[in-house]
Structures are given as C-alpha cells and as structure tokens.
C-alpha cells in the first residue's frame, strides 16, 4: 500500500540561533504539503508572527485571520503570516506551535494555505490564531522559508515538512 504521509525534511535550530528555518528543493512528487512548527525567538516580547517566503519571494501574499487572546476574539488581514512564535518575555521553556496545510502546492493555481497558530504560555495573554493565507502566484512551490517578524529563532526551534500524496 502506498505511503501517503511522509516527512520530507526537518530543521532544528542550533545553539547559535537562526534568522530563519528553510526548506529548499521541495520535490513535486506529492499533492499537498504540511508543516509543523515549534518556535521561540529572541526579541523581548511575548509573541510575534512567523512570516513566510515562498520561492524566494515575499510579495503577493494576502490573509484573513481569526484570533483570540484569552479575553476577546477579533479578525484582521495580516499578510505573509504563517505561524506564531513566542518571544524572550514569554514563560521560560515555552514555544509557539503552528500547523500549516498547503494543498496542490505543485499545481498551476494560486497557492492557498490554512494555518493554526498557538502561543500558550500559562500567562494572561496568549494567542490562538486561525489563518487563511494565499500567495497569488501560479508557480509550483519549491522552497519555503519561515522567519520571525523580529529577532531570530532560538535553539530547539523546529520545523518539519511533510508531503501528502493522494495516490489511491
């Protein structure tokens, strides 16, 4: 029976930290991509966005987000956001978690993605974010870079890229 859900690559940030976590030379042999992210960054803040770069480009991204912060819910249009990372002011040893699903990444349509982004830290303020993202570009996605909106990722931040194949 065909394997439909396989890890393509994993990035783990080392002791020096990293400005980004990136996947390159993504094969076109799957149908969909799934990224699972665990991240913390260096800036003295409770949390921030992880921003996406597809195929080396930061342009043509749009988004609609729905989020709650522990006391109220709201919605915004913060483009390029794809994940959430907690900052140096967050509770020690906590990391933000995100899951991103990109269907038909190698197809000829514009590329949509669905992201669930969480930053629970046992503090008063913590974000849970649902994100509808789009990059208006018809090229196959061959590389993805993830970067915190400020600072660098700290050691032990991880991102794993999975391929999902719809072979029956």
């Amino acid at each position: 029976m065909a394997l439909t859900y396989q890890a393509i690559a994993t990035v783990t940030v080392g002791s020096g930290g990293a400005a980004s976590m990136a996947f390159s030379s993504i094969p076109a042999t799957y149908t969909d991509l799934l990224i699972k992210i665990s991240a913390r960054h260096t800036t003295s803040e409770t949390s921030n966005d992880i921003l996406a770069t597809f195929n080396g480009s930061t342009s043509s991204f749009t988004a609609r987000r729905l989020y709650g912060d522990g006391s109220s819910a709201a919605s915004d249009t913060n483009a390029r956001t794809i994940g959430l990372t907690v900052g140096a002011s967050a509770t020690a040893s906590t990391f933000g978690n995100s899951e991103v699903y990109i269907p038909n990444y190698a197809g000829s349509n514009n590329k949509s993605y669905s992201a669930d982004q969480l930053g629970e830290t046992n503090a008063t303020l913590a974000y849970a974010i649902l994100n509808a993202g789009l990059r208006s570009d018809t090229s196959a996605i061959t590389s993805i870079s993830l970067a915190p909106a400020s600072g660098n990722f700290v050691q032990y931040s991880t991102a794993t890229l999975y391929g999902i194949k719809n072979t029956v």
């Binding site: 749009t62 987000r65 729905l66 709650g68 919605s75 349509n109 949509s112 072979t167 029956v168």
Partner: protein
C-alpha cells in the same frame, strides 16, 4: 516497514464543471476520515456555499456551529435542524481564488453514536471559518456528497478523501 495509517481512499480533479462531487462505497476499515478540498466556482459574481450531506440523508438531521472572521470582525453562529451541513460561512466559493477546506470526520464507521466533523474553511480574500457539525444518525458513513448552493464547481477543483487507521 510499519503499516501505513494514513491512506488516500479516493481523489478527483474535475476536468469540467460539475454541480456536485460524491464519495461513495467508503469502506468501514478506517477509524477517521479526512477530506481536503481546493475548489473554485464557475461564474462571476459568486459567493456560493458548499454543503455536505451524508448517506443521501435529506432529513433535517444536521447542525453546525461556526466561528468566523472576515478580516475585520469575529462572530459565532449556528444552524440547527438543517438538511445538510454548511461547509463555510465567510470563506464562500468564488471563481478568482482557491478556497480550501480541511475536514476531519471522527469515528465515521461506528453504528452507536451520532457522527461529528470539524473543519476549517479558508479564503484569504474573504475570511476563515472554524466549524463543527453533527449528523444525527448512528449509521456508518458510506457516502459523502459535496453539493453547492447553486451553479457548478469549476474545472481544476480537487477533492481527496483519506482514511486514518488508529492501529
């Protein structure tokens, strides 16, 4: 090699406009189901809802609770005693950009409990929805119909059904 626990049961990419898509003869050999849809509508202007109906049951046995954001405000609402499940609220179907649905259907083949599903519906140009739905039937799910409020799915729309095994 370990036994694969996540398998594709069926998939379709529309080669022409089509008013609905059905997965039938779904085997009862998995624990949960996942459906991934990336769809377009055919006509401008648009803003069509997708509906899900199970085992061809047209009775008023479906309910849905919705959490939705359109980029400026958030809301929650619900539909009860419907003849199908609304699969989107803000993230309606259009022709000019892909809309995406990731649907999880739990314990679909048991014959003891009512069936529930949770899903996300997304369109970056309109909104994002987190939804939960229930079908008040204890029957095992063997058929899933994705219907439209009106019109057709456009050519190039994709529908994939996956099965997840708990063992």
């Amino acid at each position: 090699m370990p036994t694969p626990t996540y398998n594709c049961i069926a998939t379709t990419t529309l080669s022409s406009a089509q008013s609905s898509v059905t997965f039938s003869s779904i085997p009862g050999t998995y624990t949960d189901l996942v459906v991934v849809i990336q769809a377009f509508w055919t006509t401008v202007p648009s803003n069509m809802y997708i509906y899900m109906q199970l085992n061809s049951d047209t009775g008023s046995n479906y309910s849905t609770t919705i959490l939705s954001g359109d980029g400026s405000s958030a809301l929650s609402t619900r539909f009860s005693n419907r003849t199908n499940m609304n699969m989107d609220y803000a993230a309606t179907l259009v022709d000019e950009e892909p809309t995406q649905r990731n649907i999880n259907i739990m314990n679909y083949s048991n014959t003891t409990t009512y069936k529930t599903a949770i899903w996300r519906s997304n369109r970056a140009g309109a909104g994002t929805d987190a939804m939960v739905g229930m079908w008040r039937s204890t029957a095992a799910i063997t058929t899933i119909l994705f219907d439209l409020e009106a019109g057709d799915y456009a050519s190039g729309s994709t529908f994939s059904l996956y099965g997840i095994k708990a063992e």
